[in-house]
Symmetry: C2
Subunit: 518 residues, 2 copies
């Protein structure tokens, strides 16, 4: 802060600034892709309450049990001291077993994208926002709402590739219903690796799909499966079928991923009042029990396996049955989940999304409301952040732009203030003096270009100019923006031989799979 004691100089000093000394603000990020969480997370529970959630969650796997539907899991669980009812798959975990294995899960790691600039450092204070995913429908203002096709899927991948705020693909941005289900994971992987250089999520529905996804990831990188094991580059969302059921294909897929050194995001998805108690405290206890039980199991399979804590407590509107996103209950639930993740020293996955049917004010306030919540929860990966509408039933082209704009604003919060030049500022105030103005002075002129975050679509024009231009509201502007971005899209560089290798692999695997259900 320089010489705080000295008298104010009446002439603004030129040069001689020491921008590096005492600069508390974070260094500017290379791009909005790497968003640093600007503030410390908020605890919504007292230490006593947090310990109570933990204590109650220990009892569920121990006294009620989690039902593991895959018989493959049973001997593993039994070897580690769990009791398995082989008729029902009900597994009772001694509480100390859960805790002992949970402790093996690492606190931080780096996920490697096809382009290293898109690598995601997990658990170090950054927060990464991923695309919408798994929606059956797609919408835009020109063509309306419709079931998703492969063409839509590819366009959304192109759009999300272009949006810096979208750090990774957190699943199929829309389900391409015109591609065969049993080989969809292959065609989607090919599209992803051709169209984007960002990290992808796989659907770990059974070991076969996971093996195929591992093969494709290796081919896309031109490395062997052995080398892939040392390259952290795939993650999957392992949803617990709440209450307390762990489905067979997902957990078998998760085991395969863990054994191959990849990442599982353990996410009980409990719509409270339907799949978990309607009270937030009860829902958190149940989801926490499910999450720590499954993460402990994955540590039995592969000690040190990377996992994210993905508890989401989502209320449903009891009148319409719709998941209500971006509501007050979402905020408190997200903060509580973040607090439990910190207790276990696990990186945390959260989510965004909106319930609105249109790219309107509601869709913006729902997302912005939750956006602050996920930041303040200390989340590390945020799924469904770019484009999700209708509680997840639809992915929107316009909504993708809206969300990227809001995430970009959050990314521009530096969490601190630059104090490197206050001597110069005060000298400028003295120079300008009472009643003067700062418009032309050196201090202003040398800084105004970078003084503000530049938005993508916010319109700050005076009303008259805006009206002369046709009074385009935000929806009209985002509609123009996604088309402009898609027109400017160019695919990332992918060596031709890797593409060919993937295509050959798909041809072979498609033949092998045929019409079989996998």
């Amino acid at each position: 802060m320089g010489n705080v004691q000295g008298p104010v100089k009446r002439t603004a000093r030129k040069g001689g600034r020491n921008r590096s000394a005492h600069k508390a603000a974070s260094a500017p990020e290379p791009s909005v892709r790497q968003i640093r969480n600007p503030y410390d997370p908020i605890d919504v529970m007292t230490q006593e309450q947090e310990a109570h959630v933990h204590a109650m969650s220990r009892r569920l796997p121990s006294e009620v049990g989690l039902r593991f539907l895959s018989p493959e899991t049973w001997p593993i669980l039994e070897r580690k001291g769990c009791r398995v009812d082989r008729d029902t798959g009900q597994v009772r975990f001694p509480p100390e077993v859960v805790e002992a294995f949970l402790a093996h899960a690492p606190e931080r790691f780096t996920l490697h994208a096809p382009d290293p600039r898109n690598d995601l450092s997990i658990g170090d204070g950054h927060i990464h926002f991923g695309s919408a995913s798994s929606a059956p429908n797609v919408i835009d203002m020109d063509r309306g709402r419709r079931p998703g096709t492969n063409a839509d899927f590819k366009d959304l991948v192109r759009l999300h590739q272009m949006l810096a705020a979208c750090a990774f693909h957190s699943g199929h941005a829309v389900e391409p219903i015109d591609t065969p289900v049993n080989t969809r994971h292959l065609s989607i992987a090919l599209s992803w690796y051709i169209l984007s250089d960002k990290l992808v999520l796989i659907y770990a529905i059974g070991r076969t799909r996971v093996e195929d996804s591992l093969d494709m990831a290796a081919l896309a990188r031109g490395i062997s499966r052995e080398d892939l094991r040392l390259t952290l580059c795939l993650h999957a969302s392992i949803n617990v079928n709440s209450p307390l059921v762990v489905d067979a294909p997902l957990i078998e897929g998760a085991m395969a991923l863990a054994l191959n050194g990849q990442v599982n995001v353990v996410s009980p998805v409990a719509f409270s009042g339907a799949m978990s108690p309607i009270s937030l405290s009860g829902s958190i206890i149940q989801c926490n029990a499910e999450a720590i039980g499954v993460i402990a199991f994955l540590q039995m399979v592969a000690p040190g396996a990377r996992c994210l804590y993905g508890v989401l407590s989502t209320p449903i509107d009891m009148k319409s049955g719709a998941p209500a996103m971006g509501v007050p209950e979402t905020v408190t639930g997200a903060l509580a989940a973040g607090q439990m993740a910190r207790r276990y020293r696990l990186p945390q996955r959260s989510m965004l999304g909106s319930t609105s049917n249109a790219p309107d004010a509601q869709s913006a306030w729902e997302t912005m409301f939750s956006l602050w919540a996920v930041m303040l929860s200390g989340a590390h990966m945020v799924y469904h952040s770019v484009g999700w509408m209708e509680g997840g039933l639809t992915t929107g082209f316009e909504k993708s732009i809206l969300d990227a704009e809001m995430i970009g604003m959050m990314g521009a919060l530096r969490g601190g203030i630059d104090f490197s030049d206050t001597e110069e500022a005060v000298a400028t105030i003295a120079e300008v003096g009472p009643g003067g103005h700062f418009l032309g002075c050196d201090h202003t002129m040398s800084r105004y270009r970078n003084a503000m975050h530049l938005p993508m679509i916010a319109d700050w024009r005076a009303y008259e100019f805006w009206q002369k231009d046709g009074a385009p509201d935000a929806a009209a502007r985002v509609n123009a923006k996604w088309k402009e971005l898609l027109e400017g899209y160019t695919p990332p560089a992918l060596p031709e031989d890797r593409r060919e290798a993937m295509e050959a692999h798909i041809a072979r695997r498609s033949h092998e799979i045929g019409d079989a259900e996998i």
Copy 2:
């Protein structure tokens, strides 16, 4: 939390819950009007940086000086040890004088509204949101944008009276340009007291207006001017004319208010880059210097005078010249101002508002983005929260509803979680068991009605139902909502004799004032 150690009972217990024990969540508020700030404020500066702002701000009033344009202020300042240049009004404060007088300002107090249910407790963890104010224009989707009239002003007062989220009137919701300027404060006061029972703000532009406003406040309550002195019920925003100029009429009005036991909100309004340094640290230093200088002066006038710290650091878009509201720089500025207010143990005034020209997604994200910032800044009164658009140039009927909806959501955050019934929740989980559901069980049925915050206009219907209903976006719904609210408006009870007394007072004063400029 009850018996945490006991085994999980397999049957949900009926009754016997102890809702009061260990309940950490705040008690439900009687209405959204009394919003409790759910989270602790965030410090954006280190302790060293905060002290640096303070140290640098001490130097400005001391070394550069604040220019007080009212000669009435000079002897008061001189008596307390300040040096006054009687040619320019430049006042130099010894730093210890600022600090000594600043310490007299109280940390908390209660502002009394015409209806005691609308009293505002200031400084105790509540946050109060006020109406838009001082806009020259008004807009709605039916009639478009136009200069404000008295009819518009009254309709906005009625609307803001109906909106629980609008805790007080923070000024003229729109300027009624068809009423004479020199008696406007009287006709507006009459409208306010007839149409609303919420707290009002006065424009302290000169002693005459303040005296008139005090008279009207006493008549509206049926009390004497002497009793009014003991009834904290008026506040005014004292804007410093940045940089470093304190205009005569405003400070004379502020002195009159302080001497009559009322509240001054000291608000340097510095558009950084124009009226203060473009760097946030420089802007905060200047505004802080201005605020503490004026608050110290008011303590010289009336020791113990209630003041709010109202520093606002607002960037302007250097391209359009428009104040940019709801941008990242607003957030950091609001948090920094809150931190300084806490340092001085002063209650804090902040603001909302948006730059968008329409009630669209941008208008929602701008307000929701800032809404979190003002909550996290620990603000106590938030001006311009309901209806402000175009950086303050227009007040919107639709935007008023949008803002009330968002403030209501924030008000529904309780800042804690109810842990009173976790035993019952866990027993219910055990009863439901793996793979069951909670839809019909007692735990759900007894709670679902109050499980979620009920929104005013959020639409969670399935797309198909929404489309059959004409696919109304949020703008269409808020357009219908303000008309519905105005139709349902009934004025609060005001005894006829008080109304007559006010009318008689206005008739007399209007005759006295005539066409004079006051």
